[in-house]
C-alpha cells in the first residue's frame, strides 16, 4: 500500500488539512490486448478549472519516454521529480495494474478529476485516455478507455 504522503501531500495546499481524513482508495486498470510492448501510464489529478494538481502514480521507469504521456508532460514540463518515489513498472498488454493509495477526503466530490495518460513504444500516444471525476458515487464504476486501457475503476 502506498500512502499519499506523496506528490499530492508535498505539492498541494489542499492536502494539509485534509490528511487527517484520508481513506484507502484502490485503482484497478485492466489493459486491452493492443498487441505491443508494455504501456506507460501516468495517473494525475486536475482541479475543476483543468489545472494540474499533482501526480499519483507513474507506471514506467524511463524518463525519456515521459514526453509521450503528452498531457502529463505539458502539465508538469516533464519534471521527473513529480513522480519521484511513486514509479513502478510499465504494464503489459492484457495485464491488470492494481495500486492502492491513502487519498485525502477533500479530493472527493470537490470537482477534481483523475487523468490517466497512456503511451506505448512505436504506437500512438494516448493522453488523458481516462478522465473521471473523483466522487464518492463514482467509486466502483468501471470506465472504458479509448485504446490501451480496457477499463479503469477506483474503489474505496
Amino acid at each position: 500500500m502506498k500512502t499519499l504522503l506523496s506528490a499530492l501531500a508535498l505539492t498541494t495546499a489542499l492536502t494539509a488539512p485534509g490528511l487527517a481524513f484520508a481513506k484507502e482508495v484502490t485503482f484497478t486498470t485492466r489493459m486491452a490486448n493492443y498487441g505491443g510492448d508494455g504501456a506507460y501510464l501516468a495517473y494525475y489529478v486536475t482541479d475543476a478549472s483543468g489545472a494540474y494538481v499533482g501526480s499519483l502514480w507513474m507506471a514506467g521507469a524511463k524518463a525519456k519516454y515521459y514526453k509521450s504521456l503528452s498531457d502529463w508532460y505539458r502539465a508538469t514540463g516533464g519534471n521527473a521529480a513529480e513522480v519521484a518515489g511513486i514509479t513502478g513498472a510499465s504494464v503489459g498488454a492484457g495485464r491488470t495494474l492494481t495500486v492502492s493509495f491513502d487519498l485525502a477526503d477533500a479530493l472527493f466530490d470537490a470537482g477534481y478529476q483523475l487523468h490517466v495518460d497512456a503511451a506505448v513504444e512505436d504506437m500512438r500516444d494516448s493522453p488523458s485516455e481516462i478522465v473521471v471525476p473523483l466522487t464518492t458515487g463514482g467509486a466502483g464504476q468501471p470506465v472504458a478507455g479509448r485504446g490501451y486501457i480496457a477499463s479503469f475503476a477506483y474503489e474505496m
Binding site: G35, K62, K64, S70, R124, D125, R146
Partner: protein, 733 residues
C-alpha cells in the same frame, strides 16, 4: 594480448550474438518487404496531406510518416481506436495498419532476449564484444597473413579457419556497423545521450482553419513530416503537435502559426542516422546486406569454437612438459610458438633426446635465463614466426635479453625456424634470433634449418643432422598431437614390375566418411591434393612411412604407388593387401609439392614410383594446363605405371607431352637422357615461366639436377635460383 581478447570475447558472446544476429537477420526482411510494396510519397505539403486526410478519415487524430515513406492515420471512432495505412495523394484508406506479432516478438528477442532492461544490458555487452571481436579479428588477420597489405590474401589451413577468415573479411564491416549503431541506440534507451525534449506548452486559439492554409504546415514537404497530432475536440486551447526531421513544435489551430519550437540536437540526428543504419528503415537494401552479414555470426562462432577445440587437443599434448630444472639439464630446449604447433615438435624432440639419455629442460623462449643453465651443453631454439618476422607469443622479450647478454652462454646454440614459405618473411624471426645470437658472440652448434608448413620431413632431416652433430642416435616417434590414424580400405590394385624384379603396385583406397565436426575442425581424413603425403603405420611399428598421394580427395579415392623393398616391413604389408583389407594411415599435407592453380607450364620428371604425384597432377588437370611428363621405368611391358592412363590423358589434353625412358631395354636410357635430348625445348619452356617438379629416388634427382644445370646454363638460368624462387621443387626419398 589481441588473441586472448579475441578468444574470450568470442567464447563469451558467441551464443548471445548468434541469437541477436539471427533475429536481426529476420527483422531485416521487414523493411525490405515494406520497400517492395511502398508507393513513393506524393510531392505535397504536410498541410495538404492533413487537410486531405481530415476529409477522408473519420475521427482522424494523428498522422505518422515513416522514414521509409509509409503513411499511417490514427483515428478514434465509435469508441474504437483505428489505425489505417493511407494513400497520401488521394487520402484513400488502403488497409488497416497492423503490426505483425512475429515482428514484435523478434524485436524483443533481438534487443532484450525477453528480459527487459537486464536483457538490453546483456545484448549491449555482447555488442561491445562484437566490436572487440571485429577489431581484434582484423589485427589477427593482418598478423596471420603477414601484414596489413596482405589483408585480402587467400586463407590457408583447415576448413574451419578458412571459413572463419573468409566470412569475417566478407561481413566484418557490416557486423561492425550493426554493433556500433546498436550500442548507440541502447545508450539512447538508457538515457545516456543528451536528448532534446518538447518545447514548453503554449495554448492556442479556438477558431478552426484548414491545415492546408496553415503557414506552419503548408510549406513543410511531406517527406520531412514524421508526426502530426490534431488538437482534441472539446479540449480548450489544445494545439497541433508537430514532429519533423528538424524538430518538434506546437501549431496554433486558430492562426496556423508555430507557437513554440525546439530543433533536434546533434544527438537526436545521430540517433536518427543510427536507427536508419541499424534497422534498414529508410535504407532497406543496406538493411538486407546487414541482415545477410548477420547470418555469418553463428558460423563464425562455430568455426571459432572448432579452431579453439583443435588448439586444445594440439596444445594439451605439447605442453605436458616433464620437469627437468634448467640447472640440472644438459640440453636446454627453448620454444617460440604462436599457435601451439611448435610445442608439439619440441615435445617429440624432447622425447627423442630423453630416450637417448639426455636431461632436457623445455621452456618458452620468453623464459630464457642463461645464468641458470649450469650444466647445459647445448641450447636448442625452435622458433616460429609471427606475421612479418615478429616474435611469436611465447618468445616475447627474447631478442632484448640476448642483446643485453654480458657474456654469451658457454653452451653453443642451434636454431630451427618454423614458418610458411608462401609468406615473404619465411622464418623471419628465426633469422633475427640467429643474427642476434651471433652478434652477441654466442657459438653456433650447427647450421640453421627451416621447417616449411610443419613438414615432418624437414623436421626429421634437422633432427638427423643434430644426431650426427652430437654423435648420438635420435629416434623420433610420430607426432602424438597429429590427427588420429584412420583405417583405409583397399578397393583395387594394379600390379607391375614382377618381370624386372621390382614388384610395384598402384593401390587405391576408399575415402573414409568425415563427420561435419571433423570437416570443421580439420579432423578426420582429408581434404588433400595430389602431392600430399600418406603416412602409413605398418603393423608392429609405430613409425610411419610416407607415400606421395597420386590423387586428390576430389577424385574420390586415395591412391599411392608402392614398390616392394626386400625385407621392407611397410612395403611388404602394403604389397600383401587384397581388396577389402585395410591399413592404418594419417594424412600429411605437403603444400610445397602441389601443382598449384596457375597456368604456367609444368615439367614433371619422375622415375619408378615417383610417377605417383605426377600422375595425380595430370589426372586433375581438367583445365588442360600444359603438362610435360618425363618418366623413367625399367621396361615398357613390365613397369610402365599408369601406362594406359598416360595414353588416355594425352589424348584428352590433360598431358601436353609424354616422354619415357627405359633402363632395361637395349637403349638403356634414363630420364636425364630424355631431358638432354629435349634440351632446347626444356630451356625454352623454363624461359617462358615453366615450373619443374621432380619426384623419385635421390640418385635420379641428382642426375636430373645435373642435366638441367647443363641444359639451362646457356639460357642464363641456374637450378639454384629456380629452387630459391620455388620454380624447381623436389619430392625425393
Amino acid at each position: 594480448m589481441i588473441r586472448p581478447l579475441h578468444r574470450w570475447a568470442g567464447l563469451g558472446a558467441a551464443l548471445i550474438l548468434s541469437v541477436t544476429a539471427l533475429s536481426g537477420a529476420a527483422l531485416s526482411l521487414y523493411p525490405a518487404a515494406g520497400a517492395l510494396s511502398a508507393v513513393p510519397l506524393p510531392d505535397i505539403s504536410a498541410g495538404h496531406l492533413a487537410a486531405t486526410l481530415q476529409d477522408s478519415v473519420p475521427g482522424l487524430e494523428e498522422i505518422r510518416v515513416s522514414a521509409a515513406g509509409g503513411i499511417t492515420a490514427y483515428a478514434f471512432q465509435d469508441g474504437t481506436a483505428l489505425r489505417w495505412a493511407v494513400d497520401g495523394a488521394t487520402g484513400e484508406i488502403l488497409a488497416p495498419a497492423k503490426r505483425s506479432a512475429l515482428q514484435l516478438w523478434l524485436t524483443n528477442l533481438h534487443r532484450s532476449l525477453f528480459l527487459g532492461d537486464a536483457g538490453r544490458l546483456v545484448v549491449a555487452a555482447a555488442s561491445l564484444a562484437m566490436l572487440a571481436l571485429t577489431l581484434s579479428g582484423l589485427a589477427l588477420t593482418a598478423r596471420r597473413l603477414g601484414g596489413w597489405s596482405r589483408l585480402l590474401a587467400p586463407a590457408r589451413g583447415p576448413l574451419s579457419r578458412r571459413l572463419h577468415l573468409d566470412l569475417a573479411r566478407l561481413g566484418g564491416a557490416a557486423l561492425t556497423l550493426s554493433a556500433l549503431t546498436g550500442i548507440w541506440l541502447a545508450a539512447g534507451t538508457f538515457g545516456l545521450l543528451p536528448e532534446t525534449g518538447l518545447p514548453g506548452f503554449v495554448p492556442g486559439g479556438a477558431a478552426e482553419m484548414s491545415p492546408s492554409a496553415m503557414a506552419a504546415l503548408r510549406d513543410l514537404p511531406l517527406a520531412d513530416l514524421r508526426q502530426l497530432t490534431f488538437p482534441r475536440p472539446g479540449s480548450a486551447g489544445d494545439v497541433f503537435t508537430l514532429r519533423t526531421v528538424a524538430g518538434t513544435g506546437y501549431v496554433d489551430p486558430a492562426s496556423g502559426q508555430m507557437l513554440a519550437w525546439t530543433a533536434r540536437g546533434w544527438a537526436d540526428r545521430l540517433g536518427d542516422l543510427a536507427m536508419m543504419l541499424h534497422t534498414g528503415r529508410g535504407a532497406a537494401l543496406l538493411g538486407l546486406l546487414l541482415g545477410l552479414a548477420a547470418l555469418s555470426v553463428p558460423v563464425l562462432g562455430l568455426t571459432g569454437l572448432a579452431q579453439q577445440a583443435g588448439r586444445r587437443t594440439a596444445g594439451a599434448a605439447g605442453r605436458r612438459v616433464r620437469a627437468v630444472a634448467p640447472e640440472a639439464a644438459d640440453t636446454i630446449l627453448l620454444v617460440g610458438s604462436e599457435g601451439g604447433t611448435t610445442w608439439g615438435f619440441a615435445e617429440r624432440l624432447r622425447a627423442a633426446l630423453t630416450r637417448a639419455g639426455s636431461r632436457v629442460h623445455v621452456g618458452p623462449m620468453s623464459g630464457f635465463a642463461p645464468e641458470r643453465y649450469l650444466r647445459a651443453q647445448r641450447i636448442l631454439i625452435l622458433a616460429a614466426t609471427s606475421g612479418d618476422g615478429d616474435a611469436p607469443g611465447s618468445a616475447q622479450g627474447f631478442l632484448d635479453r640476448v642483446a643485453a647478454l654480458g657474456v654469451a652462454p658457454a653452451a653453443p646454440f642451434a636454431v630451427l625456424g618454423f614458418g610458411d614459405s608462401a609468406f615473404p618473411a619465411f622464418c623471419g624471426y628465426a633469422d633475427k634470433v640467429r643474427a642476434a645470437a651471433r652478434a652477441a658472440g654466442w657459438a653456433e652448434l650447427m647450421t640453421p634449418a627451416r621447417v616449411d608448413r610443419q613438414s615432418p620431413q624437414d623436421f626429421a632431416r634437422w633432427v638427423r643432422a643434430l644426431a650426427d652433430r652430437l654423435g648420438i642416435e635420435l629416434d623420433l616417434l610420430p607426432a602424438s598431437a597429429g590427427p588420429e590414424p584412420v583405417r583405409l580400405r583397399l578397393v583395387s590394385r594394379r600390379d607391375y614390375g614382377a618381370e624386372v624384379q621390382a614388384p610395384t603396385a598402384i593401390l587405391r583406397f576408399a575415402l573414409p566418411r568425415r563427420s561435419l565436426w571433423q570437416r570443421l575442425t580439420g579432423g578426420g581424413f582429408g581434404p588433400f591434393l595430389a602431392g600430399d603425403l600418406l603416412a602409413v603405420l605398418p603393423e608392429g611399428d609405430s613409425r610411419p612411412r610416407y607415400y606421395s598421394l597420386a590423387s586428390g580427395s576430389s577424385d574420390g579415392f586415395a591412391e599411392i604407388c608402392v614398390r616392394k623393398h626386400p625385407g621392407g616391413l611397410c612395403s611388404g604389408q602394403l604389397m600383401d593387401l587384397a581388396p577389402g583389407d585395410s591399413v592404418a594411415a594419417v594424412l600429411r599435407p605437403n603444400p610445397a609439392f602441389h601443382a598449384g592453380q596457375d597456368e604456367a607450364p609444368l615439367i614433371l620428371i619422375g622415375a619408378g614410383t615417383g610417377i605417383g604425384p605426377l600422375a595425380g597432377f595430370a589426372r586433375g588437370n581438367r583445365a588442360q594446363r600444359p603438362l610435360h611428363l618425363y618418366f623413367g621405368a625399367r621396361a615398357p611391358e613390365s613397369d610402365l605405371l599408369f601406362g594406359e592412363d598416360l595414353v588416355e590423358w594425352q589424348k584428352d589434353g590433360r598431358l601436353a607431352s609424354v616422354a619415357t625412358a627405359f633402363s632395361r631395354t637395349a637403349d638403356r636410357a634414363y630420364v636425364q637422357d630424355l631431358l638432354r635430348r629435349d634440351a632446347d625445348r626444356v630451356a625454352a619452356l623454363v624461359s617462358q615461366g615453366a615450373r619443374i617438379m621432380v619426384c623419385g629416388g635421390r640418385e635420379m634427382a641428382r642426375g636430373v639436377a645435373e642435366a638441367l644445370e647443363d641444359i639451362l646454363d646457356p639460357a642464363g638460368l641456374a637450378v639454384v635460383r629456380l629452387k630459391a624462387e620455388g620454380r624447381y621443387v623436389e619430392d625425393v626419398y
